[in-house]
Symmetry: C2
Subunit: 356 residues, 2 copies
DNA sequence: TAGTGCCTTGTGAACGCTAACAATGACAGG
DNA sequence: CCTGTCATTGTTAGCGTTCACAAGGCACTA
């Protein structure tokens, strides 16, 4: 009820140390021209009174807000929540991003915005005004949204596009999706598979396209077919079931499937079981993301490890550092890897497996 | 580089509408005494210019910050991240809390603080000053920390204690841990189990104690023993393995185990496999939390559904509403439930199962 | 008609902090 | 000894918003 003002302000510190406000401000911000003795005296007062600057006031006077805004797709986030899916992105983002922010004295705040909405610009603008972040991390599919990147570039706010390979304004951080899909497919080919299916992600995500591209290229190089072997989902479990069913119930079904997300791979395991196929004996499955869940499935999933947390962490560092350096837009490639578990095996010798 | 001031401020709106700043402010805050015609005119200017208030400035002048701070245990969060565990709390909190905040025009920001540190007060104080949140959500084990609750109560900041049943300052929101543990144990007894083990959480969490209490009470009521059947972990996978091993390698091992977290239940499945025990034939397992992962294990886990997201959501609503109403401290009980899956079955008929 | 009160709008001051500039002092070079 | 330069500190104004209060308008009453 009682509107409580800031308990200890810079004014109190200044009074206690017997100096001007500005001097205290200088100490707080570690500015160069302060005599060591003075600095020490002020610091003592700060410690004594337990003073911490208010970022609201700092931001007001044109300084940093020490806030990095992570922009996430609202639709997808809500869907994840409703269906009680694991939230691969959100938690990785938070953990990787928040901890890195904290290391540098920053904070991360997650903001949800609909990508497909007509109000993207409006909403983003509002969020920027309200929070005054020093930088923004864009996750797919926002990373590809020209309205968003344009607005941020216009305002001169440093930002990073996660999972986007296209050069352009801001930092682009890719996790090598094409290469990872290529390697995973290549591995399946080495295991003797000749019909290898792909469950792609939604079109709005350019990384979906890159994964499909890697898969297709590996097949081409080996002279294997890809026609009719690709079905698309939305990264979620349900859509994965549909896609897997489509692929596995066709005339000459694949003996291996690369799924563009862990959830869709889980769905593939379910569908396989339903069709009487044993994994990995009759069907090999490789998933993308390698979120914690895949270690505990039956069988544990061979997965492409997409180092999401590390990528976000890198993004945050780039943004924070870009304040001091002149910010050169750059494309950063974070290395992924294939983690082999129990869901992949040599191709079945008996061709044309019958289903239940 | 160029220090960019707020693009559209209240001043621009006032000029555009030809009124004073205060009038615009009144419209923004939906204050009563504004003539409809006036309100409409100002609103038109706001829409036209795409104006959004800066929360920094709002907070500066003593108004709300529209920020709710969620306080999480830093140690545990970092551990979750390092071990690539699923983050049951963080993502549920975010999803439940953030969405509810958004509905009311608020934002949620997650702040990590070490509970065991000597600097709790210091860190919390700093966070409060920096962010000026309108309310705070405390998750275990912070919910039990008198230093934290005391400080918040002193400052008159509304806050909620998640997973704490003790009355005291702030809202207490419990998920009925004791009752849920009781029900789960009761169910195992109905299935004919007579030796039922418990893998408890760490002492710092009072909900650990409540779960143990529920388990013990169910056993007592049925005249079953509990001595030597409880081992403690830290909610994480590794500690769960140790605890499960301790319970299952004793002379007269339990035929059913209630684990205080999904991760520890997963570990129990692993240890059972390692010892040559088949779940649920030789051993029934019930877990706590019901995070998404438990649907996909082998076998799928019977789990106590702790409605974390809903609880956080309730907490946020209480906090937001407490601004207007006089805030009566209250204890809210959110109903949990038992979700039966494949990891529970009637007690094995052959007693004294030998292990490999 | 003047007085009373409410409803509506406007006016300064303040919130906590920093940028820009001014002022002070020390020290070196001429 | 004077002057210029640099390092250090202080002073003023302003960031965008709301609070407390003042002022004006109108309707109704006496």
């Amino acid at each position: 009820m009682a509107r409580r003002r800031q308990s200890v302000t810079i004014k109190h510190v200044a009074a206690d140390a017997g100096v001007s406000l500005q001097t205290v401000s200088r100490v707080i911000n570690n500015e160069p021209n302060v005599r060591p003795a003075m600095k020490e005296r002020v610091q003592a007062s700060i410690d004594k009174l337990g003073y911490t600057p208010s970022i609201a006031a700092q931001r007001m006077s044109g300084s940093r807000s020490y806030l990095i805004m992570a922009l996430n797709d609202r639709e997808r986030t809500i869907a994840d929540w409703r269906e009680r899916r694991g939230t691969d992105w959100v938690d990785q983002m938070l953990l990787g991003g928040m901890l890195t922010c904290a290391e540098h004295g920053y904070r991360m705040i997650v903001e949800l915005i609909d990508t497909h909405s007509d109000h993207v610009e409006r909403e983003l603008s509002a969020a920027l005004m309200a929070l005054q972040p020093d930088g923004v991390v864009l996750t797919p599919p926002h990373s590809e949204n020209a309205l968003i990147t344009g607005l941020l570039a216009d305002r001169g706010i440093p930002f990073a596009r996660i999972g986007s390979i296209a050069p352009g304004p801001g930092f682009a951080l890719t996790m090598g999706d094409a290469r990872n899909a290529f390697d995973a497919t290549r591995r399946l080919i080495e295991l003797g598979h000749t019909r290898i299916g792909m469950i792609a992600g939604p079109d709005a995500y350019s990384l979906s396209a890159w994964r499909v591209e890697g898969w297709r290229q590996a097949l081409s190089e080996a002279g294997l077919p890809h026609e009719g072997l690709c079905a698309a989902g939305d990264f979620g479990f349900e859509s994965g079931s549909d896609a897997a069913r489509t692929l596995l119930t066709q005339d000459d079904p694949p003996t291996a499937i690369v799924a563009s997300s862990d959830q869709m791979a889980l769905a593939t395991l379910d569908v396989a079981r339903e069709l009487g196929l044993s994994v990995p004996r009759d069907l090999s499955v490789v998933s993308f993301d390698n979120t914690p869940i895949v270690r505990f499935t039956d069988p544990p999933l061979t997965a492409v490890d997409q180092p999401i947390a590390e990528t976000i962490s890198r993004a945050v560092e780039l943004i924070i550092r870009s304040r001091s350096d002149a910010a050169p837009d750059a494309v950063i490639d974070v290395e992924g890897s294939l983690v082999e578990r129990g869901s992949t095996a040599p191709a079945p010798h008996l061709k044309g497996v019958k289903r239940a």
